[in-house]
């Protein structure tokens, strides 16, 4: 009886062993590698198109001799034991923008076995050039808007560590000038004085954008300084032992008068005035000469002027740090639309309080960063009567001028006119499938 049991056990063991060996089928070590057909195919397509010959051929008429040349070139390129299928697909876009691929032509020299792989290449017709042309700011509303960039050689910057106002001016000019009909560099504080007087003969002072590249410092013309011909519009001798908060009040008033958009690219707006000729011996307490601090009263005075309020010396600090802030959805969309991609996460050390909107009758537009602790790290504040605006980006140094660009473009929202790169007849998808004959 036990013998029978033992035989049963043996039968069970052998059966189990047989079954497991049937299932545990491993590939042969020699099958660990076959020719990497996909990369061979990709490199074949790319080298054939290296001088644009492939692109030129696939857009030719199907009866053109070039197809025969291409077929011979492919046959001569690939190893003898390799077969291929070369296919060209035309891209067709319907009215809703949905792209479909239609087989245009296929060339093959044999049937495929089991081992094959395919690579693809998108080619563009040599007759098509991809272009994009921005609409000029103000074009849609009939305004002639000039971009004035402060590039004063007699001014120093602060909170723009690593840059100078002049270098930022050049970069911003490159970045933004395509969007404006006229871009003017204000090369001295004297020219800035002329701009404030509307006596600068270049550009259109009405509805202009004034871009201050000097960070927390703002260039001030000599005549607005103490003892100057317009010191009453620039200098307040009474408060704080004499302060230039009055100058910022004037700037705010002029901004409203001419319907400017004043742009502060980084930090606490209107914190210093700068004129390297006048403030030769003054420095900003951090060793940067040629400037004098106005501190917290500066931005308050500007907003008073913008709101057409009388000048009143106010040292209330309306900016503060809020840490890391992130782009709004609108800002992210603008980055994609305009092709400008700064980091969506930034650190704000000078975010303005949201209460300025009610205190100075401002309307917040084009908000770059989501609000944090009821503070605005980057936005354009438009006066509610429609005249004048302040774009303030209260980030920490070092400035990223791409954020300034995004802020301005969000505010003015110029259209980008792009040529249809993926439209029917301009792009084709080429695939090359390779297969090996005779095993690996």
């Amino acid at each position: 009886m036990r013998t029978v049991e033992v035989l049963f056990v043996i039968v069970i063991l052998l059966t189990a062993f047989t079954i497991t060996t049937q299932f545990a089928v491993l590939p042969s070590p020699s099958e660990a590698f076959g020719t990497n057909l996909r990369e061979l195919s990709q490199s074949t397509l790319e080298t054939l198109d290296m001088q644009g010959m492939l692109s030129a051929t696939v857009f030719k008429d199907q009866n053109d001799d070039a197809w025969g040349d291409l077929q011979r070139a492919i046959s001569a390129s690939i190893p003898p034991n390799t077969v291929y299928n070369f296919s060209v697909y035309d891209l067709t876009a319907n009215s809703e923008g949905i792209v479909t691929y239609e087989l245009e032509k296929s060339i093959s020299d044999a049937n495929f076995g089991s081992a094959s792989d395919v690579a693809s290449l998108m080619v563009t017709s040599p007759d098509v050039t991809f272009t994009q042309a921005p609409q000029k700011v103000g074009e849609s509303t009939g305004q002639n808007i000039t971009l004035y960039i402060l590039n004063c050689s007699d001014a120093n910057g602060w909170w723009i560590t690593g840059y100078t106002g002049q270098s930022l001016a050049a970069d911003l000019c490159d970045l933004l000038s395509p969007y404006f009909t006229t871009t003017v560099l204000i090369n001295s504080t004297d020219q800035l004085g002329s701009l404030l007087d509307d006596s600068l003969s270049v550009g259109n002072v009405e509805d202009a954008v004034i871009l201050n590249t000097f960070g927390e410092a703002v260039p001030i013309p000599d005549e607005y300084c103490s003892g100057g011909s317009k010191q009453t519009e620039g200098y307040d001798p009474i408060n704080d032992g004499g302060t230039y908060a009055r100058y910022f009040h004037t700037l705010g008033s002029v901004t409203g008068q001419y319907n400017w958009t004043w742009v502060s690219i980084v930090g606490w707006p209107f914190y210093y005035v700068t004129n390297t000729n006048f403030f030769v011996a003054q420095q900003n307490t951090y060793g940067i000469y040629g400037m004098e601090d106005v501190r917290t009263s500066g931005v308050n005075a500007f907003l008073q002027g913008l709101d057409n309020q009388p000048y009143s010396y106010d040292t209330t600090g309306i900016a503060a740090g809020v840490g890391v802030v992130e782009f709004t959805t609108e800002a992210l969309d603008s980055c994609n639309y305009y092709g400008i991609f700064p980091s969506p996460y930034q650190t704000a050390s000078r975010a303005l309080t949201q209460s300025i909107e009610t205190d100075y009758n401002l309307e917040r537009r084009a908000t770059i960063f989501n609000l944090k602790n009821s503070r605005v790290a980057g936005a354009t504040f438009k006066h509610q009567d429609g005249n004048g605006a302040l774009t303030a980006i209260g980030l920490t140094r070092i400035p990223d001028i791409r954020i300034t660009a995004i802020g301005l473009l969000m505010y003015y929202n110029p259209t980008i006119y792009r040529s249809e790169f993926g439209a029917s007849g301009t792009s084709r998808l080429v695939t090359l499938q390779l297969g090996q004959q005779g095993g690996t």
């Binding site: 033992v6 043996i10 990497n36 011979r72």
Partner: protein, 405 residues
């Protein structure tokens, strides 16, 4: 009781036998799996190496055009990108696998040159001190001591040129790729015919465009030239069809039993300095009398549509004699790929030599390996890609194998 003991003994015996069979079988399976896994690693390494070599220019990116040390290995042409290899980086590879292949010049100077051979007589001789040897490349690729590898570069198109017997100079050109004839390919041909001047030689250029027939052949005739054995010339053909291109050449000298008189050596990559050396100092020939050679050097840059444009160079003519004037220097435009064609004459003997500045311009093949080969290893993975060098179509094969047991 005895029956139970026998039962147990039988069952234990059979159980042990079953276990042994199972262990034997499974150990074979495990060995197979381990082999498969190891081979897979080698195969992946081959792909990694190929990607690094073909799709990275290395560091610095222009290391092939300078004498600078190489910090990262890659052969991609940084000016073209994609599957295009730098013709200069390849020239800086120490392709010689033994010291006997090196050339020492001047003799006993301790200055050696690596030799990338083209056809007989034509070669690229590069200063060994600036070449990247196999061990350095393996270290830079991170495989030194773990994997062996080799790189083989060969033109896709095989362009064979034969001189046909005739009363004038006639060539038959056959263009093939992967064993198939390349029919209706455009041929740009150049004949650098060496004419004897008063005391020197001159290079007369004949050029034209033709097309191969259905069988990939074409006969090109020069009815003004005799083409007999007393003539010297270099005949070049660039073939192209729908993005595929190749180059072939044929040369003939009339040196009446002497070896070639002139050998060009690359002295400085950065500056494109070339030594035009008397070959008795390079190869230590002993034939006498020693030729008093008059040479005439011309540089032709290769344009993207496979035309050659002549560029003036310094010291384009001169006289060399071994012992009194061993070499002359000239400078090529380092950023232009092309051909330095040097004709030479001694008495009534004429010859020529070509230095390709960029290996693609002459369709030179190259191999880069340790010299020990992979024949001792069970599994060698190979990776194949198409590339261009100087616009000429090449195939790159990278082989990799696991070192050690």
């Amino acid at each position: 009781m005895t029956g139970a003991t026998i039962d147990h003994m039988v069952s234990v015996t059979i159980l042990i036998a079953a276990l042994m069979i199972a262990m034997l079988t499974y150990s074979n399976m495990f060995a197979t799996a381990v082999d498969y896994d190891r081979n897979r690693q080698v195969a992946n390494k081959a792909i990694d190496l190929m990607n690094t070599i073909c799709l990275s220019p290395g560091n610095p990116t222009d290391w092939g055009e300078t004498n600078a040390p190489v910090l990262g290995f890659g052969l991609q042409d940084p000016r073209v990108e994609g599957y295009a290899l730098s013709p200069y980086s390849i020239m800086r590879l120490k392709t010689s696998t033994s010291d006997s292949q090196l050339i020492e010049y001047p003799p006993d100077s301790g200055i050696f040159y690596n030799n990338i051979s083209a056809q007989f007589g034509d070669s690229i001789l590069t200063p060994l001190g600036d070449c990247v040897n196999y061990t350095s490349a393996a270290e830079l690729l991170g495989v030194n001591g773990t994997y062996g590898f080799s790189i083989d570069l060969a033109p896709v198109l095989d362009i064979s040129i034969k001189k046909l017997p005739a009363s004038h100079l006639v060539f038959e050109i056959d263009v093939k790729g992967s064993g198939l004839p390349l029919s209706f390919a455009t041929l740009n041909y150049y004949l650098f015919h060496i004419d004897a001047g008063v005391a020197t030689s001159t290079i007369i250029t004949y050029s034209g465009t033709e097309e191969t027939d259905l069988s990939g052949s074409k006969v090109i005739e020069f009815t003004d030239l005799d083409g007999d054995e007393t003539e010297a010339f270099h005949f070049m053909v660039y073939a192209r069809l729908s993005g595929l291109s190749g180059v072939g050449y044929y040369s003939q000298d009339d040196l009446q039993g002497y070896p070639q008189y002139i050998v060009p050596l690359i002295s400085d990559y950065d500056e494109g300095i070339i030594l035009i050396a008397h070959s008795w100092g390079v190869h230590e020939y002993t034939e006498t009398p020693v030729p008093d050679v008059a040479y005439n050097a011309t540089f032709y840059s290769l344009t993207s549509d496979f035309h050659l444009q002549q560029i003036e160079i310094e010291n384009s003519t001169g006289q060399l004699n071994y012992g009194s004037k061993d070499y002359e220097t000239t400078q090529l435009p380092a950023s232009e790929v092309g051909l330095l064609v040097i004709s030479y004459r001694w008495a009534n003997r004429l010859g020529s030599v070509v230095l390709p500045w960029g290996i693609g311009t002459l369709g030179v093949s190259a191999s880069y390996s340790s010299g020990f080969g992979s024949s001792d290893y069970d599994f060698v993975a190979t990776e194949l890609r198409q590339v261009t060098i100087d616009g000429v179509s090449y195939q790159v094969k990278v082989s990799a194998w696991k070192l050690g047991s």
